[in-house]
């Protein structure tokens, strides 16, 4: 019981730790900063500039990629059309002899009728 009564109250302990860190913080001597000095400012500028350059390069890349895609899409459309026409002609070519046969038969029939 006696021991407990001598124990440091919580708020005291909290205050001690707070003061300890406050003392440590009070002893910190750091020069303001590097950021303001030309070297680091240049670094900061360079970093910002570099980010912008990366953005520009990325956007340009996207634009070029989109143009290439459009070009290929257009080429494929043309190719498909050409292929369609080619096969259509091929089919037509196949049917010509058949049509000629019909014409010949018709001519023969006409001749017979004349005779």
């Amino acid at each position: 019981m006696m021991k407990n009564s001598r124990k440091k109250p919580e708020h005291d302990v909290d205050r001690y730790i707070y003061e300890h860190y406050a003392n440590e913080a009070g002893n910190v001597r750091l020069r303001f900063p590097l950021i303001k000095s030309p070297a680091v400012s240049q670094n900061a500028d360079f970093s910002l500039r570099r980010n912008k350059i990366i953005d520009y390069v990325f956007v340009s890349f996207l634009a070029v990629a989109a143009m290439v895609c459009l070009f290929f899409a257009d080429s494929f459309t043309r190719l498909e059309k050409a292929a369609g026409e080619y096969y259509a002609y091929k089919e037509f070519d196949k049917k010509i002899p058949e049509a000629l046969d019909h014409v010949k038969t018709y001519i023969e029939i006409l001749k017979r009728q004349e005779d």
Binding site: K8, E10, I17, N23, A25, N27, V28, L30, L34
Partner: protein, 192 residues
Amino acid sequence: MDDIVRQLTIFLNSSLSRECRDRVFESVWNEYHKKIHVFTGAMTGVRREEIDDMTQDIMLKVYHSLHRYNPVYSFSTWIYTIARNHCLDRLRKKTAPVENMEIINNREHAQPVILTENPAEQVISRETEHVIQEFLNSLDSTDKQISFLRFFEKLSYRRISRIIGIPEGTIKYRVYTIRSDLSARLEQYDEK
């Protein structure tokens, strides 16, 4: 503190000009550089010169990341998370020999600022300060971070939990343990 968040909000909504960034950073520097220094020291326990360098690096990181800050969240949580991650990176990269207790205690700058007027009280304060310093130095890195964030920064358990990545309940328990251990240590000192 609110002023920093207000300035940052303006900065984030503006054209992100350099002058604006510098102005905001100046406020951040004035408010936080000493705290970050102590926090870094508590977390890493390395030599003072190294802590100075690390603090500069952290503040530089903060400067470069200002545009990424989300005002929805607390600024202190954000900045201490950056500091903590930087320290962890540094500790991972460099297995720097951790300063032994004697060197820490004999830091040339570590002269405690005595807050009392009475010389007798000053002696008590000095000795109490010594006991507290010894006790805090004996804590592990996580407990040091917790004690700093809780007792000095007076952050809520939730924020500390977010910064350190430990459940809130564990933080509460650790704070309780730190309090009672230091209390017992001071009691022992009183008995002597």
